[in-house]
Symmetry: none
Subunit: 130 residues, 4 copies
DNA sequence: GTGGTCTAGACCACC
DNA sequence: GTGGTCTAGACCACG
């Protein structure tokens, strides 16, 4: 499988978002171990330091904790914390601008739904088993 | 009036988007001159070079054309070009990720509309006359 | 008729080149009056000062001279002066870079001739009577 | 080695053309990294911003792509893209005027070839190994 | 180490 | 008055 980066965002940010998505989607449950830095680095052909930086961000967000010698694990309550924090951030920071753009471009709900559906298919390769 | 920058995006990008919005909203019509680099720089208390960079981006996007010694002017067809290009870009690049987030956070259309409405009020100060 | 400016070069330069071309082509003979500043400005929808600047350049090049109250006239020997000076300038300044580009792009004499022929047709509107 | 600027064109434009030439000549192959902004700036004794401007132009031309923290790299297909684009641009924009001048000055192919040959010798210092 | 953004200030060409 | 180019120097984010 080939991994693609949208270069608009730093890689470590994209890695962080990826993990967050996995938690929200229930792919990673509380108590589960995160995939090891080395593995991720190898699979995504990225510098291990970059992965580490992403993971450490998650620690300061209190979403995961590290057990020395064992690895990093999803914290209890991580999912709820995320649901609260991310909703807030999304609704106040991201959504307003997106909504303005939608209106400005005169996009109909129909077009939006169609576009969303089309792109969803390309991203469910790794998601099948939950 | 006070101008605020959301520091996530570079200023010149925000300036560019501002002009694009004015064209899409019909505030700037085709053939109209853009506010001069110096004026914008003074009003927004920004370095002229930064404004220039934004404007030159618009030139390479063929939205704007410069007449030597006179200033920069909105090109014919700029609005249509924008409507086509920006819709395309938005639907394929920005929207899919936003839609995924919405679904992941379990946000309802109701919440979205409410949030959009709340933030719209803060931005219609200067827009009254068309 | 519509006049178009290639904005890569300043207008006054293009005006100057236009007159030079007319002299070289024999459209303007020695002793002939140059079209009046006012007329040119009106026809080309350009600021008269811009035309004046072009004409004054020709004076310092000793190609034309001004007779107060009468206008500006092509000097004796202007054509020969041009043939010498322009050839020299063209062969040392312009041509070497053009030749390099031609070689780099692998353009054949055939393609060049065809392209030249195609564009010649668009410019002989004003040239018919000599 | 001493680097000279022909002051008729802005430096950043000359830098851009230099890179384009290197791609066309095969000195820079697809996937190769461009010399770093800082290095070029130092070597040519130019402000880094100027080099950056040249490079960013290449990015918007899609000839080059930047990898965060690593540098800028020649895109796949850059050479072909150039061959198509530059030929087109040259034949329609530059060549017609040059051809007109040649004809006007009554220059013979012989004179042109001689002039081209003379200037070629001054520029093949660094090109030997491919 | 890489590129990216911004500032302050100078100078130029053009209209 | 307009935009355009360049410099010098600072600071930042990224890998």
């Amino acid at each position: 499988m080939n991994h693609e980066w949208h270069n608009s965002q730093p890689i470590y940010r994209q890695l962080r978002d990826r993990v967050v998505a996995m938690i929200l989607d229930g792919v990673l449950k509380e108590g589960d171990p995160l995939p090891s830095v080395r593995n991720v680095a190898a699979e995504y052909r990225v510098n291990p330091l970059t992965v580490l930086k992403a993971y450490q961000g998650l620690v300061t967000e209190q979403l995961v904790e590290t057990k020395r010698g064992l690895g990093m694990f999803v914290n209890d309550g991580a999912r709820n914390l995320l649901l609260k924090g991310e909703r807030q951030k999304f609704l106040t920071e991201q959504w307003p601008r997106v909504a303005a753009t939608i209106q400005r471009l005169g996009l109909t709900p129909d077009e939006l739904l169609k576009a969303a559906a089309k792109h969803r298919s390309s991203s469910n390769t790794a998601k099948k088993e939950h």
